[in-house]
Amino acid sequence: MTARGDTPILEIEDLNISYYTRAGEIPAVIDFTLTVDRSETVGLVGESGCGKSTVAWAIMQFMGNNGAIKSGSIKFIGHELNDLSDEALRQLRGSEISMIYQEPFAALNPSLTIASQLMEVPITHEQVSKKEAWERCAQMLSDVHLPDPQRIMHAYPHQLSGGQQQRVVISMALLSNPSLLLLDEPTTALDVTVEAGIVKLIADISKKFGTSQIYISHNLGLISEVCERVYVMYSGEVVEQGSINSVFTRPKHPYTQGLFGCIPLPPTDKNAAPLRPIKGQLPLPHKRPRGCNFGPRCDHFEAGRCDARNVTMVPVAGSDVVDHRVRCLRWNEIDGRGPPAQAKAKPPIELGERVLEVKHMQKYYEVHDRTIAAFISGQSIRFVKANEALDFDARRGETVAIVGESGCGKSTFAKVLMGLECSSAGELRHEGLEIGNTLVNRRSSQQQNALQMVFQNPNDTLNPSHTVGAQIARVIEKFGIEKDKNKIRERVLNLLDDVKLPRDFYFCRPRQLSGGQKQRVGIARAFAGNPSLVIADEPVSSLDVSVAAAVTELLMEIQREHQTTLLFISHDLSVVRYLADRIVVMYLGQIMERGTTEEIFAPPYHPYTEALLSAVPIADPDIEKREIVLEGDLPSALDPPMGCPFVTRCPRKLGEICEQERPLMQSLSREHAIACHIPIEELQHIEPVISVSPASERLRAK
């Protein structure tokens, strides 16, 4: 199958896909139309359950047992895919159309070597000899910038890091030089700096080979950086489509506008310009409303008109960009008026006395090496330095964010703070009491109560066999806040009000709740005893954009009300910039930089902070970013570099001093300190990573 002239690579027309379950037929994708031109990158964006992945499976004709394409056509370079025989389809998959998956670890076979998984692609599709296949695969691995391809060829997937695994999956997809590449959340499971490298790699390679791409993601920032055109999906339908520039600077559909109100873009601020969550929830597929699917959640809903009949896509007239279409009857009337319910600015919280003090805290883990070699050399015990000399504090009502990628030791710190582990050295004081060496079961119930946690994954943290009410009530009872049964009940109901859940949820079990609702229960549970310090470990990272915004706002509101100190652990700098007062940047167990939010986000930066800032995708074409892509992966915590921990990846490395000597903290102000060998004066001359162009329309609108 060779491409001819100007036939688009992919044309999807009026595609309808349904899943057949016990509950009956569930339409997953409705009236879907899309074209992808030669060497074009198209984005498919939407929240979970909007049907974006289903489209990818349909292109691959891989629908599983209960899914089926009901009507419509999918043409690949003019050939109808829906009519292909199994054999023709097999020849197409992996050679003309390839796919890159969300979780590289799961996508690779754990019991086969990388070589055998890669080599079968050219062997199957091009019948090359084993020797040639080997050479081509090794070449491809070095093309995706993997060090030492020969070693990787012999390795098993679990011996590689997440970033390396994804590079292997990418090389697998590119081995046969496909015309179309489907990317289903290719970087969601990766760390930000690793993500930046992968995104750049995909862009470079597809430019080199002229590959067309469909990028599926929930991350508006990523889509805005890599795609030329975008399709925004909501509840099985495309609600808006057009060029990135047009859709991202002048979104017409209320849902698209709502999404932008939910992401913490640089002008938003928790006090001056808070996030504006979309009200309500995504309708279940079999309970979609009549008319516009977004109707019940829309601020511009007009009864009798929006819910009368199905809404079709209409071109946005007067727009200077062709092919901007929107599925809204009132786009013309609401355009330009801006969001009607502009969230109100709030006064900043006043900070109180010091609640948490961390002084030179260390946490080492012992690792027993049981190989014979270690036994002979006498090095059978080694240390993982999870936390090294942490120093910072937090005041009442303050939000302190700990930022870093996986393996930087932020979760270990949370464990010590919660009393699940003991610190190895240093001091950890909470309200003046030393807690670093007191495990949670030896703390007084008052202390336990005063230190609570909101966890990352709400699905795993609630007991599935107890009702929501009972789980919150138990906390209140355990900590002896109330004794009387009726009073406890009253308090639980009040807490449900506080987290904006209906009181009926008292008798619900966690499985009846959505992810966002479960996280609200988690917050209610944490705040049940009015703690003085709450640790939030990535509380919104597993939630959808619009849900995350609502939960973030809720967390801020409750914090404000209770004057709670919030320790916010995250890898996402845009959320952190939005809600933190002060930030601690960690790398491999050590603090690289700390300071107030303004100080962290403006020069002088630590080189790692600089790279982190550059790595976070921003969903605004008006924002310009300097590109800094870090090479390689995080070093193992078992074997960290001798000098500065960041030395192996640092683009501003000075030389030997960085390798040999650990940098000292250089203080710039009362709060701001940077651990780097580069003199402050030099760091001060670094240009800002993020700059907003003065002509930005959205900024002016605000």
């Binding site: 996508a107 754990p110 079968e120 692609v121």
Partner: protein, 310 residues
């Protein structure tokens, strides 16, 4: 890896020693009852004391244990009360017979159950899957004594194709082996097949199978290269456990067909309070149990590179 194997083997020996101590305490702790079992209930007090004296039963208990253990290790099991010959003379041939039976059962059962399990698990919920699943549940739920009676009625009395007993009186006879093997396979294949099916069905839902399909591999290659290797890890462990069962769990079948195997010997020894034979049988059974477990552990590590290279 090497350290791992050494550890497993060391662990195996420790288990054996612990079991031997328990066995010794259980059966040999009171010399009086041993003498009664050996000399019979009508022996006089004097006779028993004489016998005990001769066999060193008045030594301190640890000396007795150590010499008892020493005899075991060197294979000197003293004399069987029932057969009036050294225990080893009855034990080894019987063990050999059971091994023949076991190997025959495995030779039929493993290919049969793996193939059926894989076919069923490949397409979960298909007609083939449901047929295989139902069949294996039915065959597994019929106990051996019932199927032995039924199959004998069918092949021995009605069709007259096969002999009804498997005593092997005139040397080894393949025809006599057929019925016991058939009963055991019928009882056991369903269990292994269902284990294989569950494992295969789980592997088929894994994202790496999806990757293999979307790479454009032919379906048979997806199954043979990508699915099987991962799907066989669980059945392997299950099959190793079946060896145990074939050794001492087949008493009913061996007895029913008068097959002179280990199970039948165990039964005879227990019924006759043949104390030294019981001890020997018990130690053999424990050894096989522990050894198969060790092999299963080592094999599991070999099949699973995630454990092998961690």
């Amino acid at each position: 890896m090497f350290v791992f194997i050494l550890k497993r083997i060391a662990f195996m020996f420790i288990t054996m020693v612990v079991v031997s101590v328990l066995l010794f305490l259980l059966l040999e702790i009171s010399p009086g009852s041993v003498a009664t079992k050996v000399l019979g209930p009508y022996s006089s007090e004097e006779q028993r004391n004489l016998w005990l004296e001769q066999h060193g039963y008045f030594e301190p208990i640890y000396v007795r244990y150590l010499s008892w253990l020493g005899n075991f290790v060197t294979g000197e099991f003293s004399e069987s009360i029932r057969f009036k010959v050294p225990v080893s003379e009855v034990l080894w041939p019987r063990l050999g017979n059971t091994a023949i039976l076991g190997i025959a059962v495995f030779a039929v059962m493993i290919p049969l159950s793996l193939v059926l399990g894989i076919l069923a698990g490949m397409r979960e919920g298909s007609k083939l899957d449901r047929t295989i699943s139902v069949t294996s549940i039915v065959t597994t739920s019929v106990p051996e004594f019932a199927s032995a009676v039924f199959l004998s009625a069918l092949f021995v009395f009605w069709l007259k194709w096969l002999p009804g007993t498997s005593g092997m009186a005139e040397g080894f006879n393949l025809k006599e082996l057929v019925l016991p093997v058939m009963v055991l396979v019928l009882y056991d294949f369903g269990y292994v097949a269902r284990m294989t099916r569950a494992s295969m069905a789980e592997v088929m839902t894994m994202p790496y199978i999806r990757t293999a399909v979307l790479k454009g591999l032919p379906y048979n290659k997806v199954i043979l290269k990508h699915a099987l290797r991962n799907a066989l890890i669980t059945p392997f462990t299950v099959i190793m456990l079946q060896i145990n069962w074939l050794l001492s769990g087949v008493i009913v079948v061996e007895f029913f067909f008068a097959y002179k195997g280990f199970g039948a010997l165990l039964l005879e020894a227990s019924l006759n309070q043949d104390i030294f034979l019981i001890e020997a049988c018990a130690m053999v059974a424990v050894f096989v149990a522990v050894a198969t477990q060790t092999i299963a552990d080592i094999g599991y590590t070999y099949l699973n590179p995630r454990i092998r290279f961690s």
